[in-house]
Symmetry: D2
């Protein structure tokens, strides 16, 4: 069982259900991590000139996911004015990064893996947004 899951089960005061929060936090952490590693792998590759857009989008995605996991893990009560647009920014950053990584997925396994992490995170953020608004 992940630490995020144990943590939230021990102390969850959120308005959305624990399993959804856990899934989103894990997806955000994995995505931030995959994007750091993918940008690193792109920079080590021999075709860095073709990977510039991928690197930039990975760096942006890491920044947005890291902020989002901070805000939603901290467990300040869900504040639609802050968390709503932050999750939307995350959905967009993950989608942009995934699209670009998918272009390189055949040549670069690290981009294929990163695209999967981004798509899972995009989906998790969409579900958390939908749940919080329902």
């Amino acid at each position: 069982m992940s630490y995020a899951k144990q943590m939230l089960e021990s102390d969850n005061s959120s308005i959305v259900d624990t399993s959804l929060l856990v899934a989103t936090i894990e997806a955000l952490n994995d995505c931030a991590q995959a994007c750091i590693a993918d940008a690193g792998a792109d920079l080590r590759g021999d075709d860095v000139g073709s990977m510039v857009k991928c690197i930039r989008l990975c760096l942006d995605c890491t920044d947005v996911c890291t902020a989002t996991v901070g805000v939603i893990s901290r467990g300040t009560q869900y504040d639609e004015a802050v968390t709503g647009p932050l999750l939307q920014a995350c959905v967009a950053a993950c989608a942009r990064c995934a699209e670009e990584c998918e272009h390189h997925a055949k040549r670069h396994p690290h981009c294929r893996i990163c695209a999967q992490a981004c798509r899972r995170c995009e989906q998790a953020c969409r579900e958390l947004l939908a749940a919080a608004r329902s």
Copy 2:
């Protein structure tokens, strides 16, 4: 002249004007820094029980400002889908934090200073949003 200003004047490919970007980057950096320091000062104070909301909002504001400064400093082309909601999240995080800090401004000079940094950042992000959309 700040490094942010020198940097952008040496290499700005953004669609918005340099002085506006510089002002926003500086305001975001100052706000992130003020919020870290304010949360630290709140935690050292003798009335920490009254400062819990302030601490949380400072931590959220730091996270959102740090991500935003990353995305807009990196100079990936302005992508409305990502940067738009991210700046909106920043406006909201700064406003929430400023409101709370203003309640404590008389007793705690550090909250007064933090509120000023948040209000300046809120305003700068609003102006960048408006300029990018015009």
Copy 3:
């Protein structure tokens, strides 16, 4: 299989073995996440006055783990001058945070879980340091 593991197996140019790097990256991510959540839970508790030291050490530990995971995930060649002291700072930040969380472990399950994440991370960083120096 974690994304960190998939990533490193697809593209590892490090001087240390992949399974050790994967374990350290996962431990750092888990620890950063547990510390964010623990600080949040401390701030929501009814005994925040007793948890101040715990909150501070959690915030410090998050910062140091986040930087360390960035540097070692990025896969810049292992540079003893940077990564050595950074891992040492991480070992110390995790140990300090774990000690404090252990004091609160009986009363606060979230501190017990956080202490475990910190101890695992402390150990992983020690092992990576030892391997890199051997």
Copy 4:
């Protein structure tokens, strides 16, 4: 007067003098910001293949400076076991990044500016280390 300076003058419980802390915090913030912007400018340039090492070192330097400014701004009492090696990691990350940026300083004004920010930060961290140990 910077917010960092106002903040520390309003509430400084550190063992080192305020002006030294202010200078270090400002140098760390400037350096983190310059490195984010320099990596972005490198990625936009037409010789990205020659700038790979510069980009990586800028990203590492940003991570280490950001963690360090968090730990020393938070004002947890100076803990030699954590802050000592963290400042050493920062000195090394700034020095590595500055050396590399200096190689590109003639061709790229953004690298010249980044090198200056790194050297100033390296020096500030050295002075804080020396003061804390004296």
